[in-house]
């Protein structure tokens, strides 16, 4: 009974009794040498757990997790036999006296990077003749940097090697997308950065069936939504006219600045909602919102609007207060004692 409990505990911890562990480790090593990470390798814990509960001496192979729901001793043994019998899981028998590693970088200190580099070279030999598309039309991808690679692999990758590798990656990436083999795409996937900034493309603003274009702008703590339609130059902000919404003439000017800078004041009507922040922030949030909506109506105005300073969001915010200071930068008053 005590032995059973011990075995059960061991199974829950995912370990095996000592003797079995030893020859399983050897078995694993053998797999690594011969099969190089094929389907029958190394997830042993489920089967080990099953075997240890039944206190049988059966050999632990990987098996499907689905089968273990109503397993008993005889069930697991029959499964084991079926696994042995199935042709895909048959163990290969060594043909050499000394096993030859599958990976050429087996004896290297940096096997992973070297492996991938060799894979790329092999792919290049195979598919280097495929037609490529012009450099300008290649999909932009952010590749892992040298530092990223060193961090993730934990290997000291040489910069020159990495540069050569990335050169290969870019060349393979330039293969015409319709002809690009699956193997190339899969190999390149490992070199892509997890977050792709180039795929983060804003949704294009469309003019809806009523002729409205909705632009959103932000500045400081303010958010503005502006619906721009073709019209005669009427502006309403939060249900008020421009003069009621902004007391300062300067703020009014900055709110409709995209329209003024492009001489479109009397061509469009604006209906806007602004919230948050102060008057300056709201007015300048409106600038951005109206400019974006205007670009939906007339995309050709983008250079003019950029020159007018209406396209880029101003990222400046209030600087945070620091401890030991009165404000962000201000020092406390000097006191003699």
């Amino acid at each position: 009974m005590a032995a059973l409990r011990q075995n059960l505990t061991g199974a829950l911890r995912g370990s095996c009794p000592g003797a079995r562990l030893q020859w399983q480790t050897l078995d694993q090593q053998f797999h690594a040498l011969r099969l190089g990470g094929s389907s029958s390798s190394s997830s042993i814990t489920a089967a080990a757990a099953k075997a240890s509960t039944s206190t049988s001496t059966s050999r632990c192979m990987s098996t499907d997790a689905q089968n273990d729901s109503n397993s008993n001793t005889s069930g697991s043994q029959t499964e084991f036999r079926s696994i042995i019998a199935s042709p895909e899981n048959t163990l290969r028998i060594a043909t050499h006296a000394r096993p030859v590693p599958l990976s050429p970088s087996y004896f290297s200190r940096q096997p992973v990077f070297n492996d991938s580099y060799l894979t790329l070279q092999k792919l290049m030999r195979s598919y280097g003749n495929l037609p490529v598309i012009p450099a300008g039309q290649v999909e932009r991808v952010a590749w892992n940097t040298l530092e990223d690679t060193r961090q993730t692999l934990g290997e000291h990758v040489k910069a020159s090697d990495y540069a050569k590798c990335i050169e290969l990656v870019k060349r393979l990436h330039a293969i015409h997308p319709t002809l690009k083999p699956e193997a190339v795409t899969a190999a390149l996937q490992a070199f892509k950065r997890n977050v792709q900034p180039f795929s983060n493309v804003p949704n294009p603003i469309v003019v809806d069936k009523f002729g409205r274009a909705l632009g959103v702008g932000r500045r400081k703590a303010s958010v503005a939504r502006a619906w721009v339609v073709e019209g005669t130059g009427e502006v309403q902000v939060n249900g008020k006219n421009l003069a009621d919404a902004f007391g300062r003439v300067h703020d009014r000017e900055s709110a409709v600045w995209p329209l003024r800078a492009t001489a479109r004041v009397d061509k469009y009507n604006v209906w806007a909602l602004v919230e948050g922040g102060g008057t300056t922030g709201q007015a300048e949030a409106l600038t951005l919102a109206i400019a974006k909506a205007l670009m939906a109506h007339e995309p050709a105005l983008k250079p003019a609007l950029r020159r007018a300073g209406c396209v880029t969001r101003d990222p400046r915010r209030v600087e945070r207060k620091k401890h030991g200071r009165v404000k962000a930068r201000k020092m406390p008053t000097w006191v003699k004692r």
Binding site: T232, E234, L242, V249, R252, A263, V265, D266
Partner: protein
């Protein structure tokens, strides 16, 4: 440790104090001269302080004093001469000053004086016309001009005739013709030209020889800033404001002199201290108000005379309506607040506006709300919204809030039958005409084309006149 004496001075040739007098004589006169000009200063003031003045520094100011702590080092010199302070009331007079012409502004070619017909013809909508000089004097007498309006930047007082102006003038004319009273309240957003429309109505009245009585600020009557007294024998108690009424009589007399001089009294007024027989000129009655004591009695007599049959039509106007549609700041002898409608002069206006005291000769009672300085009068706001909705034949007339207690029955009753004229922005055409006038006066220094007009129109909150002025004239970038 630094030397107590100035080393530079020691280096120079200088007669020592210890030297006997006779030795000095031996020295050359030139050397002595050099020695005594040593404490040199470029300015006479500094010279006087160091060498010439010699009050505390007998040694020529070159003996160093010990270190002294100088407190208040950064304090400004507060004893700076600021010149003469303005006399009491001078600042306010400057603030309230009304300047109606400016010789630096260019005379606008082709600017025509208003005639009575001009303000009635719809063809003249969106034109700028100038006010005749005689009318300017009359308008000044009734205080129709406001210090906030920028008359002072133009050569000659001129105004834009809007479509609303023409409409209102025609309604006034029609009412006067049928011997009815037009009772109307002008409302609208901030600086949309409400007071200006009142001024235009008064101009029209003066041009057509109406009698004009104007209360320039409703505020002056209810903020407890003029004297008041209970009217003897009145029940419920009413209050008269003699000083203000005296001023009002004088304004009426001065502004309407042309009309009043042709009229004479048709009633006897035995209650007046001065005997004024039937048939004496009305100017005599108006002139009899010399002191505040009997001003209210004379005003009542004058009012009776002016509203007698056969007189010219009358315009009774008031600006700042919300001030008289609330409880005033005056107190009764029991120290209870007096409702503004219990003040006799206010009551006269409110009854005229409400339709109780109709003018038998026709005319108009006009009131304008104010947005700049106005207390909240929820009943008035609600009543005006309701009248507006009723005029527009809207489906849903605003209803009073059942959970709000601040409504005033008397105000509701007073405004039950008035008409409402809501002002908003001017049209683009009117904006263009106005801007052309500004440009012709040399104040607006841009080409007045469609883009400039629409830009200012938009910046001015969809054509709010005052805001357009602010955007175009008052924030000039020259």
């Amino acid at each position: 440790m630094s030397a107590p004496n100035c080393l530079r001075c020691l280096l120079q040739l200088r007669p020592s104090v210890a030297l006997p007098r006779h030795l000095l004589v031996a020295r050359s006169t030139a050397a002595i001269a050099i020695a005594w000009t040593a404490p040199f200063s470029t300015t006479t003031a500094n010279n006087a302080k160091t060498g010439g003045g010699g009050s505390k520094d007998k040694t020529g100011g070159h003996i160093r004093a010990g270190k002294k702590i100088k407190l208040g080092k950064f304090k400004k010199n507060t004893t700076a001469d600021r010149g003469k302070a303005p006399a009491p009331g001078e600042r306010k007079a400057f603030r309230k000053k009304i300047l109606l012409s400016n010789n630096n502004a260019l005379p606008v070619p082709g600017l025509v004086d208003l005639t009575p017909e001009h303000m009635l013809d719809p063809q003249n909508a969106a034109t700028v016309l100038s006010i005749p000089d005689a009318v300017v004097d009359q308008l000044r007498a009734v205080e129709a001009f406001k210090p906030t309006q920028c008359w002072g930047v133009f050569r000659k007082p001129s105004m834009l005739l809007r479509t609303e102006t023409i409409d209102l003038m025609n309604r006034m004319k029609g009412a006067a013709k049928q011997k009815q009273t037009l009772r109307l309240v002008v409302t609208g957003d901030r600086i949309t030209g409400k007071s200006m429309l009142l001024l235009q109505a008064m101009t029209h009245a003066f041009l057509n020889d109406w009698i004009v009585v104007n209360i320039p600020e409703g505020q002056e009557l209810t903020t407890a800033s003029t004297e008041y007294a209970a009217i003897p024998g009145s029940d419920p108690v009413r209050y008269m404001q003699q000083t203000y009424v005296l001023k009002l009589i004088q304004a009426i007399r001065k502004a309407n002199e042309k009309v009043l001089s042709k009229l004479s009294t048709v009633q006897s007024h035995p209650e007046l201290p001065q005997h004024i027989p039937v048939g004496s000129p009305l100017m005599q009655l108006a002139n009899s108000a010399k002191e505040a004591d009997n001003a209210w009695m004379i005003f009542q007599a004058l009012w009776q005379e002016l509203t007698a049959r056969g007189r010219p039509p009358m315009l009774f106007a008031l600006d700042g309506l919300s001030h008289i549609m609330k409880v005033s700041d005056y107190r009764s002898p029991a120290f209870e607040l007096i409702h503004a409608h219990d003040l006799a002069l206010v009551r006269l206006f409110v009854e005229s506006l409400g339709g109780a005291g109709a003018f038998p000769n026709g005319g108009a009672v006009l009131a304008a709300t104010s947005r700049g300085n106005s207390p909240r009068a929820p009943s008035m706001e609600l009543a005006l919204q309701q009248r507006e909705a009723e005029q527009a034949k809207a489906a849903d007339v605003p209803q009073p809030d059942p959970f709000f207690r601040g409504y005033d029955e008397r105000v509701q009753a007073a405004l039950r039958t008035v008409q409402v004229l809501k002002l908003s922005g001017i049209s683009k055409l009117e904006a263009r005409v106005l801007m052309e006038y500004w440009a012709a006066s040399g104040i607006l220094r841009t080409t007045v084309d469609e883009s400039a007009v629409s830009e200012k129109w938009t910046l001015g909150g969809n054509g709010v006149v005052g805001e357009m002025e602010r955007a175009a004239l008052l924030t000039m970038r020259l």
